[in-house]
């Protein structure tokens, strides 16, 4: 039993090492390649711009639901005026970075894992290698670099739209004074809350894009199935592992920031 635990632990540590090595080499090789700006802009479009609608919709509904739930909870204590504080702080500190990351994983992460997985199966990655182009630098590096900027910006969009959603339920539907709501939002949010959220978003971006790309890149080694099933398995596992990584990292970062 001890041997099993030991070997499993070694496997997990080796996997973490492999993922970290993969991420660092991807960024390094990307920095050595040509047309970096063009590739980076394309990656920002793929990860960032394409995810704006889903992030906006989820942000709005999260804000609406939070406005509703928090209003009735605060009303029991006679503290409806604190709705702005509660909505803004919970969104900026926790829900914004986490839900945005989960939405991007669902939209861009799964497609990244399957795209790279299909390229692996079709020997397109081998073709890049034979052309003297490092596949990690070409396929993964731009996306990793794009994630550092896309995740924080999308998180900021999520937070703003969510706070507006809270205003819609709190002030428009449930008659909390609009001035009180916005005043509480602006007075409660500190700079530390904002940059804490951004740090989380950047870390989540790096983790999720690395995990999704890694699963796709090594789909031929990491999947129990081959071909289309292997790619599908890689995409599913990429989403599951990324989501767990986001939640685990959220706990760790919050412990340091709080």
């Amino acid at each position: 039993m001890i041997r099993t635990i030991g070997s499993s632990t070694l496997c997990v540590v080796a996997e973490f090492g492999g993922i970290a090595n993969f991420a660092v080499l991807s960024i390094y090789e990307f920095c050595c390649q040509r047309r970096r700006l063009a590739k980076w802009v394309l990656a920002v479009h793929e990860i960032g711009v394409r995810c704006v609608p889903i992030v906006a919709i989820v942000g709005l509904f999260t804000g609406l639901v939070m406005g509703l739930q928090l209003y009735y909870t605060l009303a029991r204590l006679g503290a409806e005026a604190a709705l702005g504080d509660a909505v803004a702080l919970s969104l900026i500190r926790e829900l914004g970075p986490v839900l945005t990351a989960l939405m991007i994983v669902g939209q861009a992460g799964s497609s990244l894992a399957s795209e790279i997985g299909i390229q692996r199966n079709d020997e397109q990655i081998d073709a890049l290698q034979t052309m003297g182009i490092d596949a990690r630098g070409y396929l993964v590096g731009p996306r990793l670099c794009a994630s550092f900027i896309c995740f924080p910006i999308l998180t900021a969009c999520f937070d703003l739209i969510g706070i507006f959603g809270g205003y819609l339920t709190g002030s428009v539907l449930l008659n909390v004074d609009a001035g009180v709501y916005w005043n509480h939002v602006f007075s409660s949010v500190q700079f530390a809350d904002i940059y804490g959220g951004f740090i989380k978003a950047a870390v989540f971006g790096f983790l999720t894009i690395t995990i999704c790309a890694y699963r796709g890149f090594y789909t031929h080694l990491k999947s129990s199935s081959r071909g289309v099933r292997g790619v599908s398995e890689s995409a599913t596992r990429a989403v599951v592992f990324s989501s767990v990584a986001v939640l685990a990292a959220d706990y760790l970062i919050t412990s340091f920031l709080i």
């Binding site: 390649q33 040509r34 047309r35 079709d122 020997e123 397109q124 081998d126 073709a127 290698q129 034979t130 052309m131 003297g132 182009i133 070409y138």
Partner: protein, 252 residues
């Protein structure tokens, strides 16, 4: 400078209990065309992939122009480096890129050519391959034969010194098959590259080959000129050639 451009010695590769390559020794002269023949699944593509460093060999040495292959690949674009190309059996085209983007990609990513020079090179290649009309199409919109020609164009656009062709004529009609083989021979004369082919097109491929190597049971059991094949006393080889219809076509 040595005439032996590519030198392989004692190359071994196994997958599980299956020993695919069991001590391959092969020397290939500069600007020659060498064809590897053998049954399906015998390890011909694995040999090419070991040379291309896509599959790591268990044992053995591969030298390109007197230097270990990995070192040669790393310095491919530097003075004295060896530029290298590989044409895949299934073409391995980038399906989200147009034909002209596929062909231009190696130049775009590895050279500092101006847009104008790049455009001229790609247009020239598309013209020679009779693909000018489909330059803005995607690989999925082309026939198997056209995709093969695109892959050939991508392999040759960098004017490589050595090209590995993994079944370049599979899936082509007889006319196109002959045309692709002729193109390889002509380009070899024009650019002077060294070619290593894996092919099942016996005897058509012998027309362009300087040497033929027969891979069987993990080793190269025959290496020689195409005309020496029928002189071989190896009964297995004779049987393989008979099966491959060599005898009948030879008589015709």
């Amino acid at each position: 400078m040595s005439d032996k451009f590519l030198s392989i010695s004692g190359l071994k590769k196994h997958f599980g209990n299956n020993r695919v390559l069991d001590g391959i020794d092969l020397e290939i002269e500069r600007a020659s065309i060498t064809t590897i023949i053998g049954k399906s699944g015998i390890g011909k593509s694995v040999l090419l992939k070991c040379i291309a460093n896509l599959v790591l060999a268990d044992e053995g040495k591969i030298q390109l122009d007197g230097r270990p292959i990995i070192q040669s690949r790393k310095t491919a674009r530097q003075p004295g480096g060896v530029c290298f190309s590989y044409m895949f059996q299934n073409n391995a085209l980038f399906d989200s890129m147009t034909i002209s983007e596929n062909i231009s990609m190696p130049l775009l990513e590895t050279t500092s050519m101006s847009t104008h020079e790049l455009h001229d090179e790609v247009e020239g290649m598309l013209g020679r391959l009779e693909l000018g009309d489909v330059s803005s199409s995607y690989p999925a919109e082309l026939s198997g034969g056209m995709r093969k020609r695109v892959a050939l164009g991508r392999a040759l656009i960098t004017k490589p010194q050595i090209v590995l062709f993994d079944e370049p004529t599979t899936g082509l009609d007889p006319e196109r098959k002959f045309s692709v083989l002729e193109m390889i021979a002509n380009y070899r004369k024009q650019f002077g590259f060294t070619a290593l082919l894996v092919s099942h097109d016996i005897p058509e491929v012998f027309e362009i080959s300087d040497r033929v190597a027969w891979l069987d049971q993990g080793t190269l059991r025959f290496i020689g000129k195409p005309e020496e094949l029928e002189l071989s006393a190896d009964l297995e080889l004779s049987r393989f050639l008979d099966m491959a219809n060599y005898g009948r076509n030879k008589t015709e």
